[in-house]
């Protein structure tokens, strides 16, 4: 809705001034609380030493930084609202004055500021010379144009100030922690690492080679992330916001989680920072421990992070014939080919086969046909294959390489792998 005559005559800028005062009062309240809590903790530290004291200091320090940011946001919003009220009011007074004067002189002012002159005949007394009437009408029309130019200019000024103050208030609160201020610090049941000196995307964009699983059993998450990096890296960039202060916000479908890059899950330096950011945020979302992301399914990660509509099936039609979740090898090949060709991730799970103990989820990186034989190429989230895996894949009829790649015919793949998971639709 454009700013028009109604806003010029009725807009209550005083309400915006009250809002500015409330932003400022809230900011002051936060600052005072922050100072009090930090002082109380500081007093305590004179007689409190040890691990618990260090943990408490770290926790309070983290909260202090975040509260200060929120207080500054309120202060910035207060400044923006007050300045905006002044700016809007200046133009509003001029627009209102123009409208009032024009209407007092019987000009008609439309909602968009257009002005129509009254008929010159209204001012004719008795017999009038037609030429004089025409001349008078021209003069009235000219005056209408002048009123219109002035009123529209001031309405445009109101609109520009309005847009500016709205943007300033919105930006003041952008990126603030909302649901999770991480008061207890990062998960501590696995080693954390300070990654503050590392680039978020060491290869420029998210890349499948950024995946390098260590000792944490989150292959399902890494398979989902690696296959997304391969097929649609922008999705990953969209889900992480760099707040520019050493914190990163991961936008899960059910809410944001902000983590600090001075304490991210350490699965080794070969795992890119963006991966560690998501792993740490995911652990916090799931309950606050890395143990909470041990074991899972890649399609659940694709839903949680990207809101993707996912599908899964058993690629071996010799099993579960009547339960509807199986496909023939050829049909499985077709689904995977279509998904990868369309920029949609595909993962595959295996259980106690090809030299792997327990369950494991891998990234499907390619499907292709050569000499009439259909092949599936996969990448192990470990970024390598152990000797048991290399031997297990060879015994199953495929090839496994030290760098983590595995190539199998679709028939062998269907025999060994028990579930294919993929994105059916991103939206």
């Amino acid at each position: 809705m454009a700013i028009g005559k109604t806003q010029a005559l009725e807009g209550d800028v005083g309400a915006l001034r009250v809002q500015a005062e409330e932003f400022r009062a809230n900011g002051t309240l936060l600052q005072e609380g922050n100072q009090t809590s930090v002082r109380v903790h500081g007093d305590l530290l004179t007689s409190w030493f040890g691990d618990a004291s260090n943990s408490a200091a770290e926790s309070m320090g983290r909260a202090e930084q975040q509260v200060r940011k929120i207080a500054e946001a309120h202060s910035d919003a207060a400044d923006a609202a007050a300045a905006g009220a002044d700016g809007i009011e200046g133009y509003q007074l001029l627009a209102r004055e123009g409208i009032t004067r024009a209407e007092a002189e019987h000009f008609t002012v439309a909602e968009d500021g257009s002005v129509t002159a009254p008929s010159a005949l209204l001012y004719v007394r008795g017999e009038a010379d037609p030429e004089q009437v025409v001349t008078a009408q021209h003069a009235l029309d000219e005056k209408a144009r002048q009123y219109e130019a002035s009123i529209k200019q001031h309405l445009a000024g109101m609109a520009a100030e309005d847009t500016e103050v709205a943007a300033a208030i919105s930006s003041a609160f952008d990126g603030l922690p909302e649901g999770n201020m991480n008061p207890d610090g990062p998960p501590t049941d696995q080693p954390n690492e300070d990654r503050s000196d590392d680039p978020l995307y060491p290869n420029g964009d998210p890349n499948i080679s950024d995946i390098n699983q260590g000792g944490v059993g989150d292959c399902w998450l890494l398979a989902a992330l690696g296959s997304t990096a391969l097929t649609n890296p922008q999705k990953i960039k969209d889900v992480i916001t760099d707040n520019g202060d050493g914190t990163y916000t991961v936008h899960f479908q059910d809410g944001d989680v902000t983590v600090n890059d001075d304490a991210l899950l350490d699965q080794g330096d070969d795992q890119a920072k963006w991966v560690a950011v998501i792993e740490t945020a995911y652990a916090e979302r799931e309950g606050g421990e890395y143990d909470d992301i041990e074991g899972g399914y890649g399609d659940h990660a694709l839903q949680d992070l990207f809101g993707a509509e996912t599908g899964n099936f058993d690629p071996d039609s010799s099993n579960d014939l009547f339960f509807g979740d199986n496909k023939s090898p050829d049909d499985s090949y077709d689904v995977m080919e279509e998904a990868l060709g369309d920029g949609r991730p595909v993962t595959a799970s295996v259980h106690d086969r090809i030299g792997i103990d327990g369950g494991h989820e891998l990234m499907v990186t390619d499907v292709y046909e050569k000499d009439g034989v259909k092949y599936v190429e996969l990448m192990n989230p470990w970024a390598r294959n152990t000797d048991p895996v290399i031997n297990g894949v060879e015994e199953a009829g495929g090839e496994a390489y030290a760098d983590g790649r595995i190539v199998m015919t679709i028939d062998d793949f269907s025999d060994e792998f028990d579930k294919v998971r993929y994105v059916e639709d991103w939206d």
């Binding site: 809705m1 700013i3 109604t6 806003q7 009725e10 807009g11 209550d12 800028v13 309400a15 915006l16 009250v18 809002q19 005062e21 409330e22 932003f23 809230n26 309240l29 936060l30 609380g33 009090t36 809590s37 109380v40 007093d43 305590l44 007689s47 409190w48 030493f49 040890g50 691990d51 618990a52 004291s53 943990s55 408490a56 926790s59 309070m60 909260a63 975040q66 509260v67 929120i70 946001a73 919003a77 609202a81 309005d162 847009t163 103050v165 709205a166 943007a167 208030i169 919105s170 003041a172 609160f173 603030l176 922690p177 909302e178 649901g179 201020m181 008061p183 207890d184 610090g185 501590t188």
Partner: protein, 103 residues
């Protein structure tokens, strides 16, 4: 054990209460009425939507801050309780605290 390295449960409990007080003051003192006034008085202005969104973000941020301070306070109070239990079993001298007071 040097006295300078000791913390009494009372100190920790007082700290917990002070921080809890900050949290309560924050929750009760927050002003949140103006966005409605802006909405009513400035119909048609973009700033109305911005103020409403800011009010929502501000409310969420206030809750997060209060939650953070409450978590800290609860951990400190729990630590104080542990000190008192240790005192009760005649292990009066406390150095530091259990490493899981605030983890």
């Amino acid at each position: 054990m040097p006295n300078a390295f000791q913390v009494e449960s009372g100190q920790l409990r007082n700290a917990a209460e002070s921080v809890e007080g900050c949290s309560r003051q924050l929750e009760s003192g927050r002003k949140s009425g103006a966005a409605g006034g802006v909405s009513a008085g400035m119909a048609g202005f973009a700033v109305v939507g911005a103020c409403e969104s800011a009010g929502t973000a501000s409310g969420a941020a206030f809750s997060a801050v209060a939650k953070s301070w409450q978590a800290w306070s609860a951990a400190a109070a729990e630590g104080a309780a542990r000190y008192e239990q240790v005192d009760a079993s005649n292990e009066a001298v406390i150095v530091g605290a259990g490493s899981d007071v605030v983890s």
